[in-house]
């Protein structure tokens, strides 16, 4: 890939000369889809990113949200899709590294990671290889740097076979005083590069991420994948913390896509300033690197800091204490963004880049693409035996236990994890604000494949329901919007749908979308991926306790929020049931007042009479019931209505199962908000009995556990 002709013409007319080789490469990478969001930015204005607790919205390395007057959290999400296809271990590992550095550059300490992963069908050998490699890469890197991985999701869908998705989110903790941004502050300040030495790795990663994966990508594009060193990252985390402690940083940016050229030009562009960078001052790992390589290498574990001249020496001392390389590479100016190198022969400085930073950062023309709304599927329902269907849906890799995955992640380091992975949402103890921070991330390829707009609304509501089920109220969200090649009208139409759907539901829930990431061209010879919005949502609650997911041996079980059942309009579109037995249906209509539903659910979850709460979504009521029984406590339920398959397997989000000592109080709370159905009662022992009119499904916790062990049984 090289700079497109139309872009080159624009650059030539702005510069009034031909760009140098280094400039052309900078424009190519910074004006790529990955960096400049050329096809998505026109759509992103749909998101409401403002709110009274939003401190820093979209556009910085990470977003910042206030928990109280003093304590802030940062939120960021990133995709590392193409690298993870070419090299799953390193691709995924460096995805973690990148989003953690985005947290550091806000002056924050990382306290939690979450990742949403999407692969081809589990029984496909290559997909399994990618899955194992990605999980191992995340485990290796996240564990080593001591940041707990507490939440996430894994989905399998045939359309990811040629292009898996790795979306990683990070939550950090900072304060009003410690907050740093990526906006350069003052001409004359020094730019200091701290971290790993720069080598020839990850060259052109940004443009690699901005085109379809070629058939030979695994061999041909390997040089575009970076290799991570979590040990260096851990040293960087601690060094950064000390730099912030001592108030030595004026602004900061991590070196990610487009390397030093990207980070340093973006810092000054934000403030409409310039910089002079002496490229030969960069500490290098390999000899004879040329200007372009130094500028664009995506070597990992590097940060660019703006430092006042008087503080440079102290920054150097701290870097040295942590065995990190450090070089003063230039300074902030009021002029252009200028890079020079020393000519080895003459000793004179040659200017290799001299452009307006703002034009470089913001000058990329936006694409106006054709879009086509995908058609809604007609109902065509399969006729499967109820018990067979129950077994198939409960043991599908999509709904099965993900213990094999999260057991490999250190999810308790940091001693903040009050509720860990395997539950609806994680809860982190933020003792600094005496608040529990709930975190839920996920997408739903079957939903957004069936109905991009409604499916994306559902994804947002589903994450909010997860948070509310643990008694927390949504606070803010960041999104990772993954799509195929946007130049195909139907792909762009689907992508437009997920953007609008996500935006609509987040606004309805008064949950500002404070940042995100877009990844397009997830397209290969196997075709485009389903439009995939991953949402990472945080919520807050008083205290760190939450009702358990598992039932206790005594108490009534209620189903709240089932609009389909109440309106006699159950729809199976997007369900695992249809995925298993081949069929189609319209996507479920969502609850009438989602905001009131979420608020009420969060309040009820924290009532003393509430014994257990579990969100109902993927795999429907069948999977939710199966997940709630234990060896000590079972359930006897009877299904309302005369459509047992629909009732058990439809996946309308915004529903929860509540076990309570006080059903009347739950009914009162939801009166006028959402329908409440009494399903049955809990029992001693681990039996699950579902009475479906003329049929009864009978099973027990041990059998369910065995069925749900699909992934670990195969991989252990």
């Amino acid at each position: 890939m090289s700079l497109a002709d139309s872009d080159r013409e624009l650059v030539v007319s702005e510069l009034d000369r031909e760009p140098t080789r280094a400039e052309a490469a900078l424009f190519e990478n910074l004006w790529s889809e990955h960096c400049a969001y050329r096809s998505s930015r026109p759509l992103l204005s749909a998101f409401d990113s403002e709110g009274e607790r939003v401190v820093v919205g979209p556009g910085d390395d990470a977003a910042v949200v206030a928990l109280d007057g003093e304590t802030y959290i940062t939120l960021g999400i990133e995709s590392h899709n193409h690298p993870s296809y070419v090299d799953p271990f390193d691709g995924a590992a460096t995805g973690v590294g990148g989003i953690v550095r985005d947290t550091l550059s806000m002056g924050a300490y990382p306290i939690a990671l979450a990742d949403s992963l999407y692969f081809g069908e589990f029984d496909d050998e290559h997909s399994k290889y990618l899955f194992e490699g990605v999980v191992e890469g995340i485990s290796h890197y996240g564990n080593c740097i001591g940041v707990p991985t507490v939440a996430g999701s894994v989905d399998f869908h045939t359309d990811y076979e040629g292009n898996p998705l790795v979306n990683v989110a990070c939550v950090g903790l900072t304060t009003e005083e410690r907050l740093v941004t990526a906006e350069a502050q003052e001409p004359g300040n020094k730019l200091v590069l701290v971290g790993n030495a720069t080598g020839r790795d990850g060259l052109g990663g940004a443009s690699f991420a901005s085109e379809d994966l070629a058939e030979d990508a695994e061999t041909e594009d390997r040089p575009a994948v970076q290799v991570g060193d979590p040990y260096a990252e851990k040293l960087l985390i601690e060094a950064n913390e000390q730099l912030v402690d001592e108030d030595l940083i004026e602004s900061a940016r991590d070196l990610g896509a487009a390397g030093l050229g990207g980070a340093s030009s973006e810092m000054v562009a934000k403030a409409d300033l310039g910089a002079h960078i002496e490229l030969d001052r960069v500490h290098q790992r390999e000899p004879n690197m040329n200007a372009l390589e130094i500028l664009l290498a995506e070597s990992q574990e590097r940060m660019c800091y703006e430092v006042e001249p008087d503080n440079v020496e102290r920054v150097r001392e701290i870097a040295e204490r942590f065995d990190l390389g450090c070089s003063v590479i230039g300074e902030v100016t009021e002029g252009n963004y200028v890079c020079t190198v020393e000519e080895s022969a003459s000793g004179e400085r040659e200017t290799v880049v001299d452009v307006d930073a703002y034009f470089l950062g913001e000058g990329a023309p936006m694409n106006d693409l054709e879009s086509e709304v995908p058609p809604e599927p007609e109902p065509d329902l399969p006729d499967a035996d109820l018990t067979d269907a129950f077994d198939a849906v409960v043991s599908s890799p999509n709904t099965a236990s993900k213990r094999w995955v999260y057991r490999q992640y250190d999810h308790e380091v940091g001693v903040r994890t009050s509720v860990g992975p395997g539950d609806d949402a994680a809860i982190m103890a933020v003792r600094e604000a005496e608040q529990g921070l709930a975190l839920s991330t996920g997408g739903a390829p079957n939903w957004t494949d069936a109905a991009p707009y409604e499916g994306a609304r559902a994804v947002a509501l589903e994450n909010a329901t997860n948070i509310a089920a643990k008694g927390a109220t949504p606070l803010a969200a960041v999104d990772c919007l993954n799509g195929g090649n946007p130049e195909k009208p139907d792909v762009y139409g689907g992508f437009t749908g997920i953007v609008d759907g996500l935006a609509e539901m987040c606004e309805t829930l008064s949950t500002p979308v404070v940042g995100g990431n877009v990844s397009l061209y997830n397209d290969s010879v196997a075709g485009p991926i389903p439009p995939t919005p991953t949402l990472a949502m945080v919520g807050a609650k008083d205290g760190y306790d939450a009702p358990p997911l598992s039932v206790a041996a005594d108490g009534d079980l209620l189903l709240v929020g089932d609009r389909g059942l109440a309106a006699d309009d159950v729809r199976l579109g997007g369900s695992e049931y249809l995925a298993q037995f081949d069929g189609s249906d319209r996507f479920p209509a969502l609850p009438d007042d989602p905001a009131a539903l979420i608020e009420t659910l969060a309040a009820v979850a924290d009532e003393d009479a509430t014994l257990a709460v579990h969100d109902v979504s993927h795999g429907g009521l069948a999977v939710a019931l199966a997940e709630m029984v234990t060896a000590d406590a079972g359930l006897e339920v009877s299904l309302p209505g005369d459509d047992p398959a629909g009732t058990l397997f439809h996946e309308q989000p915004g529903r929860a199962l509540i076990q309570t000592d006080s059903p009347a109080a739950v009914r009162d709370a939801f009166d006028g908000v959402a329908p409440v159905v009494e399903l049955g009662t809990a029992t001693d022992g681990g039996r699950l009995v579902i009475d479906a009119g003329d049929r009864t499904i009978e099973t027990d916790a041990a059998t369910i556990r065995e069925r749900r062990a699909t992934i670990e049984r195969d991989l252990e």
Partner: protein
């Protein structure tokens, strides 16, 4: 007069140990390995993490850093020393304790809660428990399988230097309850004096009541003065 928590590059449970000890009212501070131990150190924690990125071999590089000479001297003077997870690997690599912790039988990292049987209750680390008591403590390691020669293990067992074993809900050290394939289900051992102990499970993660079980408090109380 404080406990020193030794931070190597790559340590990542140092802050957790500090928070857990503070909760118990035990004065402790993190000490950067290059700065050495303070003269009046009352106890040493070698925390979990990935010192030196586990390069070469888990714990091997840290064990050879100058501060470990000071730690061995302090241990010889009777100062209590506790190695946790990577700290246990460092303890074995540096000769504070015998044997080695190596790659899990599963060859994967494992993070989960396990049951431990208290083998001796008459040490500073286990005074809060009964002999044979079962306690719940989390593990989080990829290299926690205890290895040593059969002869030497028999001698350590005779000398009463096995502190904890992995066990099931009945207290039996069954293969199924042994998360990493440790020989004789050993989870923690004593050095040549009772005041030196290492274990793979994380007592500091089972100390703060606001995030889970608190069975690990007794172990950390071995650092109380």
């Amino acid at each position: 007069m404080t406990v020193s928590i030794v931070r190597f590059g790559g340590s990542n449970c140092d802050r957790d140990a500090e928070r857990a000890l503070a909760h118990l009212g035990i004065d402790a501070e993190i000490v950067w390995h290059e700065d050495g131990l303070p003269a009046d150190v009352t106890g040493v924690v070698l925390p979990g993490g990935f010192s030196y990125g586990d390069y070469l071999r888990a714990g091997a590089m840290a064990a050879r850093s100058p501060i470990m000479t000071e730690v061995r001297e302090a241990a010889a003077d009777g100062v209590p020393v506790l190695g946790v997870c990577n700290g246990a690997q460092v303890g074995c690599e540096s000769g504070l304790t015998e044997g080695a912790f190596t790659t899990n039988e599963s060859a994967r990292f494992q993070c989960e809660h396990v049951s431990l049987r208290v083998e001796r209750a008459d040490t500073p680390w286990t005074a809060a428990y009964e002999e044979g008591e079962i306690i719940e403590i989390p593990i989080a390691h990829g290299e926690g399988r205890y290895e040593i020669t059969d002869d030497r293990l028999a001698e350590l067992e005779d000398e009463g230097r096995i502190l904890f074993r992995y066990c099931d809900e009945n207290g039996d050290p069954t293969p199924k309850a042994n998360p990493n394939g440790s020989k004789h289900a050993v989870a923690g051992i004593l050095g040549d004096r009772d005041s030196v102990a290492v274990l793979m499970p994380h007592p500091e993660r089972a100390t703060l009541p606001d995030v889970g079980p608190t069975d690990g408090q007794g172990i950390l109380r071995g650092l109380e003065r």
